[in-house]
């Protein structure tokens, strides 16, 4: 049964690839905004199948990659406070800060633990009331509703020892910033399907309206991505610039109202700094006034300080699609997954890590 489905998949892919080839005329650059797409494109070998004139470039949609050095340093500073336990997603452990990393801090005895869900933070805070638990909240619209739910639950259960280092970011403002800077030439966007499960389609309408560009909200299977590419090329051929949904089996136009409401209740947007992209208006989420007593940066008084990116590291430009990992002189020389210099080599969704792992030749 499974076997049959997969053979079918190969057939469908080759039909779609033929149609894609027929639509490519001249040089076309599409940006896959999200790291999950980047990895899926590599894994399925899509890059090796696309016609020459069609270029896929990776965008800023890797939450670990866009977290600036200053934020890593802030997490390290928090972890150094007595009685503090810092909880983080795994990939952040190895991102170099200015002079240390969370991994190195753990090796010298700080209590830093890897969790996979914000709800783990709740459990840990409840189980260890004598410790102050700080959750390093990193992620896009996909993780923020769960973080908001954890915050609300902590409030309901009167858990007083749980704090957030808010470093969540929003995708549409980043795309707007990329387009406004006009530094990178993009014909259209492969937009992340899972983000739109939460936010729907409307937040992207400015791409078509203000910049006359196209976008397709796309799923993560190989065939989804091929179909997304095909839909973008169709638009170009027909002279349209619209936001369309390929991932219709899960994405609703209006998104997930419940998730949006809980995010809105707990968080408000603020002007956040992104690695490579600088400060982008209303592109981050921070706790609303009513929840400020859980804001680790305020409670422990560790304000954000700007820090320089590691010298020579091109992550900032790679995240904007201005450079490719192979353009970086550190790629696979000084910067490897074992000894990463920049976050794009650390995160499993980073484009340098993907280039390294799946082979630059493909």
């Amino acid at each position: 049964m499974n076997q049959r489905k997969r053979i079918h998949e190969g057939d469908r892919a080759s039909i779609m690839l033929k149609e894609i080839s027929a639509l490519v005329d001249g040089h076309i650059r599409l940006m896959e905004v999200c790291g999950t797409h980047t990895v899926s494109i590599f894994r399925s070998g899509i890059r090796s199948l696309l016609p020459k004139g069609l270029e896929l470039i990776s965008g800023p949609g890797c939450p670990v990659c866009v977290t600036p050095v200053g934020e890593i340093d802030r997490a390290i500073a928090l972890a150094q406070i007595q009685d503090v336990t810092l909880l983080t997603f795994g990939d952040l452990m190895r991102v170099p800060g200015t002079s240390s990393s969370l991994n190195q801090e753990r090796a010298v005895g700080r209590d830093i633990r890897v969790v996979t869900s914000p709800l783990d933070a709740l459990e840990i805070a409840q189980g260890e009331p004598q410790r102050r638990i700080i959750f390093f909240a990193v992620g896009f619209e996909t993780t923020s509703p769960a973080i908001a739910a954890a915050v609300r639950e902590a409030r309901r259960k009167r858990i007083a020892n749980l704090y957030l280092l808010c470093s969540q970011r929003l995708i549409p403002p980043a795309i707007r910033a990329l387009l406004s800077s006009r530094s990178v030439k993009i014909d259209g966007f492969i937009l992340p399907g899972h983000v739109s499960v939460i936010i729907g389609k409307t937040p992207y309408s400015f791409i078509a309206r203000e910049f006359s560009l196209m976008g397709v909200i796309t799923g993560f299977e190989a065939l989804d991505i091929l179909e997304g590419v095909y839909m973008l090329l169709r638009q170009k051929k027909e002279g349209r610039s619209e936001i369309e949904v390929q991932y219709t089996r899960v994405v609703k136009e209006e998104g997930n109202r419940l998730a949006l409401e809980i995010m809105e209740e707990v968080f408000e947007p603020f002007d956040a700094r992104w690695r490579g992209l600088g400060v982008i208006p209303e592109s981050g989420l921070t706790l609303r006034e009513e929840f400020k007593e859980m804001d680790a940066a305020l409670v422990f008084d560790i304000p954000y300080e700007d820090r320089k990116d590691p010298p020579g590291c091109l992550c900032g430009q790679i995240l904007q699609g201005l450079k490719r990992p192979l353009d970086c002189p550190l790629f696979d020389t000084r910067c490897t997954p074992e000894n990463p210099v920049g976050p794009c080599m650390v995160s499993s969704e980073g484009s340098c890590a993907a280039f390294h792992k799946y082979g630059a030749s493909t």
Binding site: I7, G45, R47, S48, R94, L226, T336, S361, T362
Partner: protein
């Protein structure tokens, strides 16, 4: 060594483990036998050649669906012997016990060792126990060593793959690591995946009965299938092409990988082997494998080529291709 301290990733079986052995151990302990870096050392004697191997087991949790640290410690060592084509002669088992460890659990583990040894047709012929103070070990660590005999005419090594060889695997990959990770309960995921932990000595002897000219055998433990194929491609200076469509991965393992962003080609197995055999012998070997309970799902998954020596190419389901590089930089928790 680049790093001044040992990191968890040095034990993950990937690039860092490789570097650790090459940069720190080999410069001091180098000799012709050790330097092959095969699963077992092959020691020439006046009589039959002996295969000798040793391995430590630090899995967490100690008990998991499909096995426990005891079963693992027998299967792992028996399989390392089997990958040299050796039939196991005897095994030693050495225990480091943490003060306070429940004897009832220890008994369960020893019974499981007995059972696995029986399945493998081998006896535990020597042993040792040490107890360390609470906190100095996590429950229980086991080290086993094994000796086996290699029959006349069998010449198996990681460096013996030849262009034209067929690549065979004895079933779906990733079950062990997926099962252990799930059993750790760290991912808030429900469900159970059974480890494939099993002794492969019987299967290998059946394969050798069908064809004594097997070129390479490897068990894809830490680092998974991708790392093992890469090691063979490099040791033999050949290219390897495998097809995604032919490599089985159970639906639940694939589902877990999708959720966590893991790649099944890098997950550890404890009851799987990869065989490189001359193409004209492949059918015969495959038939012998399918007749064994541990080989029922065996399949040819790829072939060896002249081109791109040292590289492993995966043909994807949609007809594209990508390289399979060795496991690198990832820090998987302790799984074996």
């Amino acid at each position: 060594m680049k790093q001044s301290k040992i990191l968890l990733a040095h034990g993950a079986g990937g690039k860092l483990s490789h570097d650790l052995v090459k940069e720190l151990f080999l410069p001091f302990l180098e000799n012709d036998i050790l330097c092959t870096l095969d699963d077992s050392a092959i020691i020439p004697t006046e009589g039959p050649r002996l295969a000798f191997t040793t391995d430590s087991y630090v899995v967490k949790p100690l008990f998991f669906p499909g096995g426990d640290i005891g079963r693992l410690s027998i299967c792992g060592t028996v399989n390392d012997l089997a990958m040299a084509g050796a039939a196991p002669l005897g095994i030693s088992a050495s225990f480091i016990l943490e003060e306070g460890f429940p004897t009832q659990e220890l008994e369960r583990i020893i019974v499981s060792i007995q059972q696995a040894a029986r399945e493998a047709g081998v006896m535990v012929v020597a042993g040792d126990t040490k107890v360390v103070e609470r906190g100095a070990a996590e429950g229980l660590f086991i080290t086993t060593s094994g000796v086996g005999i290699i029959r006349e005419g069998v010449e198996i090594a990681g460096s013996h793959a030849l262009p034209g060889d067929s690549v065979i695997i004895n079933g779906p990959i990733g079950d062990h690591e997926a099962g252990v990770l799930l059993a750790r309960g760290e991912f808030s995921l429900k469900g159970e995946i059974e480890s494939d932990c099993a002794p492969l000595s019987g299967l290998v002897q059946a394969m050798l009965d069908a064809c004594s000219d097997i070129h390479v055998l490897r068990d894809p433990t830490r680092g998974g299938l991708a790392t093992v194929l890469w090691e063979i491609a490099n040791a033999s200076k050949v290219g390897v092409i495998v097809e995604e469509e032919r490599i089985k991965v159970k639906t639940e393992v694939r589902g877990m990988c999708d959720l966590l962003g893991f790649d099944p080609y890098y997950l550890a197995n404890e009851g799987k082997l990869v065989a490189f055999v001359p193409q004209q012998e492949a059918e015969r070997v495959l038939d012998a494998m399918k007749a064994d309970p541990l080989g029922r799902e065996s399949a040819v998954v790829g072939r060896v080529v002249d081109e791109n020596p040292g590289k492993v190419l995966l043909k994807t389901r949609i007809g594209g291709h990508r390289l399979l590089e060795p496991l690198s930089g990832e820090q998987f928790p302790r799984i074996c």
